[in-house]
Amino acid sequence: MQGLSLQIGPASFRIASAWREPVEQLERLYAAYPKPESGIADFTVRLEPARPWRRWVRPSVAICGDYMLPDAAPLPLAQGLLAAEMGMNLQMALGWRRHALLHASCVERDGRALVMTGASGSGKSTLAAMLGERGWRLMGDEFALLDLATGDVFAFPRLISLKNGAIGVMEGEAKPVRFGPLMQATPKGDIRHLVPRPEAVARMSEGAMPALLLFPRFGHEAAVRSVGKSESFVRLTQASTNYVALGEAGFAALSRFVDEVPAQAIDYGSGEEAMALVEQLWSAAA
């Protein structure tokens, strides 16, 4: 097994792989990220052959680690980087307890955070990636970490996972050197990873006070609707993988969040339309 260790926000990972290729890709794309502060990783992810002979014959990557989904389908070796990313996400979703973990993207400006959550395909990841190229600090495209004591949001700025149409959009915004390989026809469609800008990595331990919550929805005529606190609460509990496990601390953190942070649902038909809506709502919330 070969491998590497990574610090992403407050979480650290040891990734081991039976093959060299995924490790080389991770080393290149995560080159600017620090090693785990303590030297010991919070989580281990292992990329192993689905069967012993599948190391060589039509190599097939099973995602293993501290937390595993027993029925997860293995991926072809060409999608080994995706397997590593899915493995890290899985460890966070199932194992992280130090924050309330929201399945949301997050960007920061002037010390205040914009949190965006929604179903897969809502565009929350693409919007965070676009904002991250336009003067905002990207805090994460997949998870926002809500501090249980202070209510601040903390970053988890792993590689941005661009899917399908978002790939072309971001290829127009960022230099080619910041992209991983294009992986076609994965279980999630076409995927290409984007390295966040250096500031997102250098400042990844800095929290921010949440100032606006958005529920974006791509593919509709532009519209804005205020979302009530109780609706936000229900949607955030659905978007949190560890709400139940955290007990009363999770309740206190999420109920405080929806009580203090204004929320809007936005529909949009294009990235530029969404950028204009976000700036408009951000100014109003300031």
Partner: protein, 94 residues
């Protein structure tokens, strides 16, 4: 047949957080969160630890809130909410 009587869960086991039209209740003993509408938080607020029937609860509500002439029509509402709360474990049916 005697009217059923109910006793609310001890207030120390409940965290009630009013948000907008709805309130959240976190039940410490079960670890579950409930989203409830009026008059549920008000009912739990007036019940204290006492065993009470529907009409006694309404009497207490009318002392604290302006119910106008609606008291009579609220009897089935309060009775239905009590049965729901009993099913959730937030009141005990005695």
């Amino acid at each position: 047949m005697a009217q059923p009587r109910f006793r609310a869960e001890d207030a120390s086991h409940l965290v009630i957080k009013p948000l907008d039209d709805l309130s959240l209740i976190y039940h410490r003993r079960s670890g579950t969160t409930h989203v409830v509408a009026s008059p549920v938080p008000e009912m739990l607020g007036v019940m204290g630890g006492d065993p009470l029937g529907v009409e006694e609860i309404l009497e207490r509500l009318s002392q604290r809130f302006e119910l106008g002439n609606e008291t009579e029509s609220l009897i089935p509402v309060v009775a239905a909410r009590l049965e729901e709360l009993a099913a959730l474990g937030l009141v005990e049916r005695l």
